[in-house]
Subunit: 135 residues, 2 copies
Amino acid sequence: MTRGAPVTWTIAQIADDFGVTHRTVRHYEDLGLISPERRGTARIYRRRDRTRLALILRGRRIGFTLDEIRTIIDMYDAPRGQVAQLEYLLSQIGDRRADLEARRRDLDDALAELDSLEARCRDDLDKLDATASVG
Amino acid sequence: MTRGAPVTWTIAQIADDFGVTHRTVRHYEDLGLISPERRGTARIYRRRDRTRLALILRGRRIGFTLDEIRTIIDMYDAPRGQVAQLEYLLSQIGDRRADLEARRRDLDDALAELDSLEARCRDDLDKLDATASVG
DNA sequence: AGTTTCCTTTACGTTTACGTCAACGTCAAG
DNA sequence: CTTGACGTTGACGTAAACGTAAAGGAAACT
């Protein structure tokens, strides 16, 4: 008998799985970022909802607002079909990429500065060490 | 007569230079992120203040809160001298680096997904093109 | 002297992203 | 059948990061 991973989850389960509160999950639903099915009044979440939640949380970690995240998500499941649609989507992708790359440059700059700060620290430590040994 | 860049700036000048409002600059001062000198009641900003403002704005772009930014800035001009201080600072640097690297992973993941989305788009466009030519 | 321009502080308003009750439905266990 | 765990919908509260309006000081044209 095969008993794989569940196919549906409750709000408490996914909140727990993703390390957020159920309030947060419902908030994202209020903003239209997730739309789980309903069994009666209760929400039931499927794999697709988990994927979107993962997207949302990653966007949040990167520093996007929930509104920006919505436009990104919308981008991912925009109706692709006509040439005009596709070309619009491609331009959107270009914008997003430029944004992300700018952020990455900032990030790398910050990391480089951290490195040089660390180097100075180790230098200072070495000097203190030498002094201690000699004196 | 040499007329290089100014040595001091008013709040309006640096706000303009950095593309923020004077209200924002004063807000950062309220939070202790910048502390310009005073000439009477007026604020005068020097190069050091500009450096800090640049740090703050970059941190903001990366997605740090102003509180997190404060701890980072404090890190940069912490009193280095004793071994204990230096070692504490090194541990702080380690934490920050881990944080930044996690963010970069998220960023790279997002960029990779954008790439694959773009590839699918171009693929769809090619197919539509072929259909148009043949049909 | 009067007006403009730039600066100041004080203080309340706003948006985002939730937290936190309150009040109620529902389903399984005891 | 009640208790308890888990779910629901409002609705108000809050912290962060400013915006904005009010009221005024001080230098600098005119």
